[in-house]
Amino acid sequence: MVYFIRKVFFFLLTLWAAVTLNFIIPRVQGGDPAEAIVTKLTGQNQAVNPAQIEAIRTMLGVPDEPIWRQYIDYLDQTLHGNFGISYSYFPYTVLHMISEALPWTLVLVGITQIISFAIGTALGTWAAWRRNGRFDSFVSTFAAFFGTLPYFWIALLLLYLFAFKWSWFPNSGGYDGDHPPGWNLDFIRSAAYHSILPAVSILVTGPIGWIMQMRNTMIQTLGEDYTRLARAKGLSERRIAFTYGARNAILPNVTGFALSLGGLIGGSILVEQIFNYPGMGRLMFEAIGNRDYPLIQTIFLFLTIGVLTANFIADLLYGVLDPRVRRGGES
């Protein structure tokens, strides 16, 4: 129980820290951030209209007030979900823009992460079980190269080959213009068709980390005394591999699953931008281009809260799966 209380406490604390970080970043530069942003916009020969200044004020609070007052206002606004108005998509609110983009990223990142995890864990089990076999040597030798291929570069190559050169897949967007978003088969089919290349860009290298992690941990568990006992008892090979080796080796991957989400989200930002996929990554990219600060910050906040929540769930799950963690102290 202490374990779970600690984890809830840590989750709330990190949540608060992330929200605070979001408050600090624009203010680190010194001076009046709202003014600095306005100066920057005019410096780029962009017309600054009152709506933009208003949006900046909504985001940053009234700068004449002392900093603690601004901070309290900011916390209040954040708790009530007031993130201001996007000034590149005026008059839409930031929240509206995010609510349209979020499902796309959730589906893309969620599905690719689960598939990567499943493929990686299965292949890692195989590599560890047939250690020094053909597949194991192949993976161990080439993981160092294929694991480092950047997602966005693979995305560029896939886009060039499969969309531009051979026209097998659409080269841009998340769905067909003829099928507007909705719960009907046509839309889902068109969305799935559009998401194949972005998903494959991530899946080419996604499982490699899991393969290596699973392989290395399972090689350890296969050397443990309990595995030796299982062999001595004459249990079937299958049982030893899955129930004794793999099942114990999968535990560290549960924590890794949530921790790696941060990196995957970073990768998907780039991939989405390449495929013009209508998710959070493309929204963030466009927000950068338009210097739409309320939007940039709120996207950052949402992505961070998403990863924090995933880690929280993984921590709870870990406690359920592994009684040792629940009982003893963790390091």
């Binding site: 990190t14 600095a36 160092a144 291929l149 570069w153 980390g209 941060g262």
Partner: protein, 313 residues
């Protein structure tokens, strides 16, 4: 990325005294020149040897870029968007620059970013991780909280947010942004290593001798985890090189600096897909992947310093 992280965890889980092993190994006879043991172990590892050779090629290209590159990377006097030819091995950009020359100069940017941002984030991780691990108690609790925070906050969105606010754009700001966002893993690994090292007898002896905490941490403990520090530096350098490419690709880099990320951004934005300039799309990413691969390979050898099971005879 997660693969390297996995390796670092295993390293931390199997702590050993580097110095003591080194001293034994240094006395091995039979070599005419005195090669320090760590260097010998890294070189004996086949993967690490391949990595070192690759890294050396990149380093030479970076150092001698002005000599090797056939043209100035900013020279726009050529015919734009050309396919590879004898004059331009990889073709030309949409602005009429030579892609091969840009590729060579890009090695310089990546290596500088890797070396500097890798050093800074390793230093931050080293100081925070060592203090947290050695001090324990409330100091450890507070610092561990920040370490965990640095680990869970998604790095690229954070870097993008900070970069978007910075008033200046340039290579220095990129290095700072990567350093302040990328120290989490290093700190975590060093903290768990120091926790296992601080119970050793020689540390107890130092405490009884009245040495200060700073002295114990940096003079007694740190030399014993040099291989871990080097490994995490190499990992951080690889991460920084990848991060710079991503930021530059998003258009947050320094437009004046030639970098592989910037090249890929232009290749994507200038219609290299439509003109069929596959080399423009292919080469910068391959160079990026090969450079990061070389660092990963070198780390196989560095891991072997502290873990004899990984050594190759």
């Amino acid at each position: 990325m997660s693969m390297q992280e996995g390796q670092q965890i295993t390293l931390a889980d199997a702590p050993v005294d580097d110095l003591h092993r080194m001293e034994q190994l240094d006395e091995e006879p039979g070599s005419r020149f005195h090669v320090p043991a760590p260097v010998r172990i890294v070189w004996q590892n086949r993967k690490a040897r391949v990595g070192l050779v690759m890294l050396a090629i990149f380093a030479l290209a970076a150092i001698f870029a002005p000599v090797i590159a056939p043209y100035d990377p900013h020279d726009t006097s050529f015919f734009p968007s050309e396919s590879p030819s004898g004059d331009h091995w990889l073709g030309t950009t949409q602005a009429g620059e030579d892609i091969w020359s840009q590729l060579i100069w890009g090695a310089r940017t990546s290596l500088i970013i890797g070396a500097l941002a890798g050093t800074f984030s390793t230093l931050i991780g080293l100081v925070i991780g060592m203090i947290a691990g050695y001090a324990g108690g409330i100091i450890d609790d507070i610092l561990s909280f920040f370490i965990n925070l640095a680990l869970v906050v998604p790095t690229l969105p954070l870097m993008v947010t900070i970069s978007a606010y910075s008033q200046v754009s340039g290579i220095a700001i990129i290095i700072i942004v990567i350093s302040v966002t990328g120290w989490g893993w290093g700190a975590r690994v060093k903290r768990s290593q120091i926790i296992s090292l601080r119970e050793r007898d020689y540390i107890t002896a130092s405490i009884f001798a009245g040495d200060s905490m700073v002295r114990i941490v940096f003079r007694e403990i740190m030399p014993n985890m040099m291989s871990l520090i080097v490994a995490s530096f190499i990992g951080a350098a690889g991460g920084a090189i990848g991060a710079e490419a991503g930021l530059a690709f998003l258009g947050l880099g320094d437009p004046q600096t030639v970098s592989w990320g910037t090249m890929l951004m232009w290749a994507n934005n200038s219609g290299a897909m439509l003109t069929g300039q596959w080399a423009y799309l292919f080469a910068p990413g391959l160079a990026l992947a090969l450079l990061i691969t070389s660092l990963t390979l070198v780390n196989f050898g560095v891991d072997a310093i502290s873990n004899p099971h990984l050594r190759e005879e």
